[in-house]
């Protein structure tokens, strides 16, 4: 797909966005966090980054699991690199293991003898935010939970927008009976109580990542249609659209080449809020127990554990703090985008 070349006006909008410091830095931090979360295995994982064993180097962070036997241990299952590190150090033969800063993954239960989960934050065991009620590292669950939530939210946004924008545009562009039909359909559809549907569906089948996206898209695509419909109506009667039509351009060319680029400000303004909406929706579903199945790392599930165990405050506190930070930043970005793309600053009526 060839991206439409940015016209000077759009360039100006981005420049303006960059000047709104709060939003700009939030966007930078968020982007960095998202990108880093894609490589979370390098920072938070029970797998070592580098192992040198009898002169051989290996990099087990990605790829197939390596059974303990590969490093001279006596078990068939995946190597316990934390133990391996100790073993190597004790042996003192120059073998070494380089672990990530947080040497736990989001699923494993770190349950040492005589200590009962949840355990408080502790730097010596590198549980920087403590463990949850089954001994899993809270920081690891938080980071992988963030990755899940953000990917979920972005994918959901993409699906919602593809459907919402197409239908909205078509409604605006074709108008008439088509428009009328979809208007009524959407009105009815948006009155279906979404949460109940999810609860009913989740109680008869366990939703997985994609089925949950599908269900939520099924009831979430309507939001964008109204805005796109209006925006399209507005553009449709503009002279350049009339001109294109007079020149014999067909509908899809007009919609994609002329109308969509000119409604981009509407879309862009909504994106940050849709992202935060997606995250909140997933978290609350997980909190209620109707979201992604356990043991998927998720903020909602962690929050539920935390609220049940307020005496172990590190669980609830971690999630609440992360949630506040994330949503605040997304809102800052949203604000900045809305201001930067405010049509009143750019549009010149002729």
């Amino acid at each position: 797909m060839i991206l439409p070349r940015l016209d000077p006006l759009t360039k100006k909008k981005f420049a303006r966005f960059a000047r709104i410091r709060r939003g700009w830095w939030s966007a930078v931090i968020l982007t960095a966090a998202i990108v880093m979360s894609f490589f979370a295995e390098l920072f938070v994982s029970n797998r070592a980054l580098v192992v040198r064993h009898e002169g051989r180097w290996s990099f087990p962070a990605y790829g197939a699991i390596r059974p303990g036997t590969e490093f001279g241990q006596d078990y068939q299952y995946e190597t316990n690199y934390r133990r391996l590190k100790k073993t190597f150090e004790e042996a003192g033969r120059g073998d070494f293991v380089l672990l990530p800063p947080v040497p736990y993954n989001a699923y494993e239960n770190d349950l040492p003898e005589g200590v009962y989960p949840p355990t408080a934050p502790d730097f010596s065991s590198r549980h920087f935010l403590g463990t949850d009620t089954s001994g899993r590292d809270v920081l690891a669950r938080l980071i992988y939970g963030f990755r899940t939530a953000i990917i979920f939210s972005l994918l959901l946004l993409l699906c919602n927008y593809v459907v919402g924008i197409s239908i909205g545009c078509a409604m605006g562009y074709y108008g008439g009976a088509f428009d009328m039909f979809f208007q009524r359909l959407i009105e009815i559809w948006s009155n279906v109580p979404f949460l109940y549907v999810i609860i009913i569906v989740a109680s008869i089948m366990v939703p997985n990542f994609f089925s949950l996206i599908f269900i939520m898209m099924f009831f979430g695509w309507m939001g964008m249609t109204w805005y796109m419909r209006t925006a399209t109506y507005k553009q449709k009667i503009r002279e350049y659209v009339q001109a294109a039509r007079a020149a014999g351009a067909h509908d899809s060319y007009i919609i994609f080449r002329h109308i969509l680029p000119n409604t981009i400000s509407v879309i862009v303004t909504f994106i940050p809020f849709s992202v935060s909406g997606g995250i909140v929706a997933l978290t609350s579903l997980d909190y209620l127990g109707f979201g992604l199945p356990p043991p998927t790392p998720s903020w909602g599930e962690l929050l539920r554990q935390g609220t049940n165990r307020l005496d172990s405050i590190w669980m609830a506190a971690s999630v609440v703090a992360s949630m506040i930070a994330l949503l605040t930043m997304v809102t800052f970005v949203g604000e900045a985008v809305r201001e930067a793309f405010d049509p009143r600053r750019h549009t010149v009526y002729e």
Partner: protein
Amino acid sequence: MRTLMLALLLASPAAAQSPHWEKATLPADIKWQTNDTDAVFADPKAKKGGTLNTFEVSFPLTLRTIGPDSNGSFRTYLNANHTELTYFHPNTRRVIPGLATHWAYGADQKTIYFKIHPKAVWSDGQPVVSMDYAFGLEMMRSKAIVAPWYNEHYEKKFDKILVFDDKTFAIRSRDRHNHFDLHYVLAEGFHPRSSRFHKLDENWVRDVNWKIEPNTGPYQISRLDKGKEIVFERKKDWWAADLKYFKNRYNVDRIVATVIRDQNIAFEHFKKGQLDGFTLTIPQYWHDKAKGDIFDKGYVHKLWFYEGRPKPEFGMWMNMDVPLFKDRDVRLGFQHAMNVEKVLSTVLRGDYERLNSSSEGYGKGTNRDIKARPFDLKKADEHLTKAGWGKRGPDGIRVKDGRRLSARVTYGNASHNERVVVLKEEAKKAGIELTLQLLDSAASFKTMLEKNHEIAYSGWGAQQQPEYWGQYHGVNAHKPQTNNFSNTDDPELNKDIDAWRAEFDEDKKNELARRIQKRIWDIAAFIPTYKTPYWRIGYWRWVKWPTPPGTRTSDDPIAYFLKESSAWDGLYWIDEDAKKETLAAMKSGKTFPAVTVVDKTYREN
């Protein structure tokens, strides 16, 4: 006077045709039995007197034991004060006398005869007579009580009361039963009712809602402060007070149950000495909350008591209709790949114990040779390799013909998450992937009933008799809406279960039960998980207990300061001198040695 009334009643034509009872003559060949040879379980050192302060989280909605809103925890205390005809001895489980001095069994296996104790009286002073039982059945079948379940139960299980004279009667059932079941089904929980008190009309529910019903037990409600507290007073001249199995029990003069709506607040009351005891069974209470001065200075003692009651059957059932689990070696591999031990020792803080078989706590009917298979990667590997699952894929999960060794675990309680995730992580070591399907409890139960599960992680409540037929008989396999979650269908087992159901002889029945358990173990589709064979309490040092502090079937005596039917205790007493001494010591700062008693007298295995 009473006899005259009875005679009049018997003479009237309506009564003669009553569906609930009939006048009969006692068969000549009847063999009366009693039991005064089993050991007493109360302590002769027990002193009478004092007040036990306890709490309830809510005020009862009614004082009725039947009808709308009566099914609350408070009913336990009301029922506890209706003396049963017979009891099961809490240690030997043999029948001991209660309101009946003697009993006998009919040759038809449907009838059980009773002789009412000559001294037995109601709390209103009237003697207990056979017709009170006849009226009891009539009442339980009456529409006036607005209790359809009980109406049906007493219609289906009971046929008639046979009245021989004022003090002799029989209960006839519709089905045949062995001797144990005649007591269990017909006598236990079936109480006489006073026709002087109950008028069975459409106003009954409202009329008796807050009325104190005459009873035959050791206590009667003496005061009722609605929404706040209920006081039980000991009957000073209770008719059964000196009988062998009642002597030295029900020692406190008064039991005051105050309404405290929150556990945590109640615990604070307890720490101040306003409550005499508190249940500490939950790990958080026992380990974390029950700490501090009053415990260290010996004012409050802790008791961890192991009982020997039937255990609820918690475990995982592999559905043998799923192709994967048709292979016994796969099932054995799974048995050895579930690290239940780790769940118990970590997330459950070592407080729960491994359940060993499908029916524990049934005395001689439990096969003690059966032990749950331990987590053992080597054995798991052996069995799985034998079944063709020797190779591991790149993610460490075993593969066979392109299929991964993965099974879905269905469960219905989010609070079990922390247990199943440990099982899942540990199973990976054995090359098994467990996917977790958490549904809401109703949906999960339905999934299992419909046999749409691969592995059911669930549990069955304990009953007086194990449910072999429902859970393991082939009749209930391969079809929805039955409790046979493993779809066990084994001809040998079916035969034994049928024989067990038909057997009336206790010893033979127990032997069959043990064989059934062995066979279930051999089939290996049930992975037993855990049990909590104990209760834990804290109590102020003036509350005294016999040695040992409970019986085999004792329930938590704080939560159930009076307990209905067979597990009914009332063994504790309050030492007023010790109370004065303790209160004085707390003022002066004197301390006593800290006491934590762990009693394993009745611990099984």
